[in-house]
């Protein structure tokens, strides 16, 4: 006799045990430590912190280990952990103008006060597999050049866009002291304001934003961006302690900030000015910060009195509703769950419709049956 499928519980336990074994891999190979991941896979750790929206390199490294290197899975672990954390308060806005930069470049000016600081970048490497790294010989790949770390930081680095702003060449960003909305505490509502959009983009999926930004470059909502400035470095996080009545530094985070200078707008009453796009992301995450700035700029068409050309990157609902990879991956993968109740009802319907169609055909062509 047939017995309805049982044993879901046992199957899950077994699958989890197998997963743990797969995660560990060959036991003859040394276990990877969280510290190794944090130090040697730092850019993966940065991405997990940025999209997990939680600045904690150790935890992000642990999540990567647990997720077997699946970064979206690791981001998911971080997000789920983040929800459970009590919120004590919020920091003062960080001042990226005072960033201690490891890297700071401008594509719009050859030189500027503070200078161009290349920092640790892949930009000018030749993408050749370095087989020496496989030799695991520490001495062999120790750098011949003494890496200079953080001491570009000593120099003052005023923002490039401030130069343009001083001359009225770029659309000014007006100071706004209203508390920005918090998308982790309120449901996302459309139309969103810019603060909310930037928040959503800052934790959006790097690949999605890259694709959106790239599409604007290829003509779908074109906005002619220049990287006015890209800076990576550390900023102080200050928080006002009610008992003290003033703000004190509670820590330091690494951020990547990108300001783009874009095509200008103007009208009969206003002389032309450049416009801006803005990206700010946790950790060293350049590709994401630049993408974010391009997408931010594309989404500002209404505020800047531009035409909506119907490009996906100009469509706020489209971009914001699909940028979050945790939402996306969950919904995408849920189609693996059983749907046999729905499928059954579709099956019955299609059989009924087919039977009727066949019956109707028989009526139309009775002689064909003879």
């Amino acid at each position: 006799m047939y017995v309805a499928v049982k044993g879901g519980e046992k199957a899950i336990d077994t699958a989890h045990a197998w997963l743990a074994e797969e995660r560990r891999g060959d036991r003859d190979v040394a276990d990877l430590s969280v510290a190794q991941i944090r130090e040697q896979l730092a850019l993966a750790v940065n991405r997990v912190m940025a999209e997990g929206a939680l600045y904690d390199p150790d935890l992000a490294a642990l999540a990567i280990k647990q997720a077997r290197g699946d970064l979206i899975e690791a981001i998911f672990l971080i997000r789920a952990y983040r929800t459970t954390q009590a919120r004590f308060g919020h920091s003062e806005p960080v001042d990226t103008g005072k960033m201690r930069c490891d890297r700071r470049i401008s594509a719009t000016f050859k030189d500027a006060p503070g200078g161009q600081v290349l920092g640790p970048t892949f930009d000018y490497t030749h993408r050749l597999i370095d087989f020496a790294l496989a030799a695991e010989d520490q001495a062999a790949n120790a750098s011949q050049v003494e890496a200079q770390s953080g001491d570009a930081a000593a120099a003052e680095m005023p923002r490039i866009t401030d130069f343009l702003d001083r001359d009225g060449l770029i659309q000014p960003e007006l100071r706004d002291d209203t508390t920005p909305p918090d998308m982790t505490r309120e449901p996302l509502a459309y139309p969103a304001n810019r603060a909310l959009r930037l928040q959503a983009l800052a934790r959006g999926d790097e690949g999605f934003l890259l694709g959106m930004a790239y599409s604007t470059q290829r003509g779908y909502g074109r906005n002619h961006p220049f990287v006015g400035e890209l800076r990576v470095g550390r900023v102080d996080v200050e928080m006002e302690i009610p008992e003290l009545g003033f703000a004190i530094t509670v820590g330091e985070v690494t951020l990547t900030e990108c300001e783009t200078v874009n095509q200008f707008v103007g009208s009969k009453s206003e002389p032309p000015q450049f416009t801006r796009g803005y990206g700010l992301v946790l950790g060293h995450t350049e590709r994401k910060a630049i993408s974010m700035a391009l997408v931010d700029r594309a989404l500002r068409w209404q505020e800047l009195d531009e035409d909506n050309s119907g490009a996906p990157a100009q469509d706020e609902e489209f971009v914001l509703a699909h940028a979050d990879n945790i939402q996306a991956t969950g919904f995408l993968e849920h189609i693996k769950l059983p749907h046999y109740v729905d499928f059954q009802s579709e099956l019955e319907l299609i059989r009924k419709l087919r039977a009727e169609a066949q019956a109707a055909q028989m009526v139309r062509q009775p002689e064909a049956a003879e």
Binding site: G8, E9, R79, A80, T83, A321, E333, E348
Partner: protein, 281 residues
Amino acid sequence: MSDYNFAYLDEQTKRMIRRAILKGLAVPGYQVPFASREMPMPYGWGTGGVQVTAACLTPDDTVKVIDQGADDTTNAVSIRKFFEKTAGVATTTSTAAADLIQTRHRIPEEPLREDQILVYQVPIPEPLRFLEPRETETRKMHSLEEYGLMHVKLYEDIARHGHIATSYAYPVMVEDRYVMDPSPIPKFDNPKLESAAIQLFGAGREQRIYALPPHTRVVSLDFDDHPFDPSRADHPCALCGAEGSYLDEVITDDRGGRMFVCSDTDFCETRRDAAKDEVAA
């Protein structure tokens, strides 16, 4: 990280969700936006339902979780375990014994009581979504009760197939005001939406909660001359012999053999046990 609050969510979050639930109950069928949290299971796997359940649970409650009508499908097991672990509540597979039932895609066959809560997991809460992709526009359509387009879809179905070709997630009109998506339950279950229990619908990814208070009037959309037809299977259950239940089709061999059995496993088992007792007595 070892200590979780009761039922995982912190109390403030639960209060926020309860406010959304109360608003939903006050305006039946209206989709209340709420600040859905990231949960430790993926979006689309029941995060909305889990948050609603977490906000409703008390330590004395007994919980039942079903997916496709069954208590033993993997996702139902996983969610049931989640509440066992994070809330320490009692769990059951018996519909009658549960205070709260979380479900995906089915309504239990056994009529629910006034002291029970049924929580639905909802993937896409917006019944107008596939006619109009824009949230700003669909909210306006709801607020102005512009539902003509919904009937255009049904009209097109009949014009093409001779029937309304929607077999699950069949849209309903709630108290003559809001068109609502009942979640992807088969249309067979639609008549059971008029229930004595409180019914709560949670969509985590889409950040919406909506509700049907007990005994709310819920009408499946149709035409006067093409009335809603919940469609019944034309076989009894091969295991318990039930004639009015929703059946799963099970393929039994590779020669086209198949059988039909109750999708509601508790309903089926209860009937089989009762039959055994009768034989014994």
